[in-house]
């Protein structure tokens, strides 16, 4: 559905000149700074997939999405989306895609939400019956009725995002690009948004590519992650593999009986780290070296245990580790 081959995009900016008359000299300078927002990115996405596109700020996520949606022309490389080159067949491509930028609305600011939706329906050449059917379905999923007649400028952020999603899904695009769809939303609104994305994918088979900072979005919604940093793909594969590769450990969380003894655990191979607080132990271990049963037996033998849990590493700490180390392990 989406084929991306060796794309790069650079931005040229006049070099800033500092010192006396710096502004004027910047204006006349012929030197440019070249920023490589995306250096060399390739991937392909099948129809119906949900892919999380991750990376730190400035890693090149938004630039990629903008090239995929026809906003930016790559400096080099090729992209086809559903058989079309986005920036060449811009209008035909626009009919296939829905785009939501979390930080910017695509709705008509001064008009009631329903007006924006009617205009969108016309722009995408929808029949009235088709429009009404889709609006009714989206209304059911996103509960739009209470604010359909409110001017967009008066909507809350959560309502506005629901409006933007409705606008993007109204004409049933084959592909949905979501750039930070949950940014700034409260817990309830985030959950509603995630539920919606899940249903759209399952019921309509929409291919979805989402960028986000909120890893809960990714854990909940996607099976596959593409991770980029400094304009290069560091990882492309299932979430489980990313964790396995970067965080091949588990944690045993132990709750102790109140006022009980808290003696030292005996040294055992495979224990990576122990974090001890009153009434609680967090043991990080390598399951390949030490069997979970042995570890639990050792803990129970020496400690008054009331509760035990084995915890997988959170995606968040995995990502932090990748960004900090800045390299990929194979």
């Amino acid at each position: 559905m989406i084929e991306v081959r060796d794309i790069a995009r650079e931005f040229r900016r006049p070099r800033q000149v500092h010192g006396p008359l710096g502004g004027l000299r910047t204006f006349f300078t012929r030197e440019v700074d070249i920023v490589h927002a995306v250096s060399n990115v390739s991937f392909s996405i099948d129809a119906g997939e949900v892919v999380g596109y991750l990376g730190a700020n400035g890693a090149g996520k938004s630039t990629t999405i903008k090239m995929l949606s026809g906003i930016l022309v790559p400096t080099s490389g090729t992209i086809t989306v559903n058989g079309l080159v986005p920036w060449e067949d811009r209008e035909a491509n626009a009919l296939n895609i829905g785009v939501v930028f979390g930080q910017r609305t695509q709705l008509w600011w001064d008009l009631p939400l329903i007006d924006s939706l009617r205009i969108i329906a016309k722009l995408y050449r929808m029949e009235t019956a088709h429009y009404e059917r889709n609006l009714a379905r989206l209304d059911e999923l996103l509960e739009l009725t209470p604010f359909l007649d409110t001017p967009v400028r008066q909507l809350s952020l959560g309502q506005r995002m629901r409006g933007d999603l409705t606008a993007a899904m109204l004409y049933e695009p084959k592909i949905l690009y979501l750039d930070e769809p949950t940014i700034g939303l409260d817990v309830v609104a985030k959950e509603r948004m995630r539920g919606f994305i899940e249903r759209v994918n399952q019921e309509s088979g929409t291919t979805i590519m989402l960028t986000t900072h909120d890893l809960a979005d990714v854990e909940r919604l996607t099976k596959r992650i593409i991770f980029i940093d400094k304009g290069l793909v560091l990882f492309d594969g299932p979430v489980a593999e990313l964790k396995h590769r970067y965080a091949p450990y588990r944690e045993l969380h132990v709750t102790l009986a109140p006022n009980g003894d808290q003696p030292e655990l005996p040294q055992m191979p495979g224990i990576i780290d122990i974090e001890e607080t009153p009434g609680r132990l967090e043991i990080r271990f390598d399951p390949a070296t030490i069997a979970v049963a042995d570890l639990i037996a050792a803990v129970v033998a020496s400690h008054p245990v009331t509760d035990l849990a084995i915890v997988e590493p959170a995606l968040e700490s995995v990502v932090r580790e990748i960004v900090q180390s800045g390299e990929v392990r194979r």
Binding site: S62, W87, E91, A94, I119, K122
Partner: protein
């Protein structure tokens, strides 16, 4: 044809948005009319004082001014958003035009409506009617059609210049100061008969910036003065066509330059 129906939908939305602010709408129309009255008063005073400007009498000057103003009103009604282009490019609002199934330029034009264009249109038509009652034009059906084509052509000339200069914005982001000065040159020199200027300036105002094609050439044709021009009469009479051709070229340049769009960071 479908495109134009879609454009009407967007223009309708722009008008509805504008009418949300009713007091502003009324005051900008009145302001527009007042602004143009003061502009015309200058021409009127000079003509009344000296009887004529460069052999053109008051009725003829009024006719020229009326044509220029009507043209400018049409230009403003359709292309006013060119003056908001810098903001549209710098904030990345242009992104949204690129992901919709319609040419971005059409979406820019119908982004908002500057209501004060109605001031120009009302003022311009009033001057045209006033001047015509002075009997300076031999009205025939052909003359009426020519007048209509000429004011649209004049709007297209101004539009073409603004679009061409605006397309530099994909590289340089800020082009408003340049475009505003050029617009000012049109406003200052477009209202007077080109013949009063020195020859070199006349050439610049014809071929450098095509200001003479906006109103002076077609007005000369309607006023039976085309044989007094420093260009062949046929060139003056195809002014409306020149407007259309320049406009089509400008749209080409715009499309070619838009590949340089840089968007804005999130």
């Amino acid at each position: 044809m479908e495109r134009f129906s879609l454009m009407r939908t967007l223009a309708g939305a722009a008008i509805r948005s504008e009418l949300q602010y009713r007091a502003n709408a009324v005051s900008s129309i009145i302001g527009g009319i007042l602004f143009q009255i003061t502009g015309f008063i200058v021409v009127w005073i000079i003509a009344a004082r000296f009887g004529q400007i460069g052999d053109w009498g008051l009725a003829e000057l009024t006719f020229l001014y009326g044509m220029r103003l009507t043209s400018h009103g049409i230009f403003y009604a359709f292309f006013s958003q060119m003056f908001e282009l810098d903001r549209v490019l710098i904030t990345g609002e242009f992104d949204r035009y690129l992901v919709r199934p319609l040419p971005p330029l059409m979406q820019l034009f119908t982004r908002k409506l500057r209501i004060n264009c109605f001031g120009d249109l009302i003022g311009g038509s009033a001057l045209l009617i006033a001047a015509s009652s002075g009997g300076v034009v031999d009205w025939s059906p052909i003359a009426v059609v020519y007048l209509l084509l000429a004011v649209v052509g004049g709007a297209l000339v101004e539009g073409a210049v603004q679009i061409t200069l605006g397309s530099l914005g994909f590289r340089f982001l800020q082009t408003y100061p340049l475009r505003a000065s050029v617009n000012e040159v049109f406003n200052v020199y477009g209202n007077y008969p080109n013949v009063i200027f020195p020859t070199a300036l006349r050439a610049v105002l014809t071929f450098g910036l095509p200001i003479a094609f906006v109103a002076f050439f077609p007005a000369s044709v309607l006023l039976n003065r085309a044989d007094e021009l420093s260009v062949p009469a046929w060139l003056a009479s195809i002014a409306p066509l020149v407007g259309l051709v320049l406009f089509l070229i400008a749209v080409r340049i715009w499309r070619w330059q838009s590949a340089n769009y840089q968007s804005a960071g999130n």
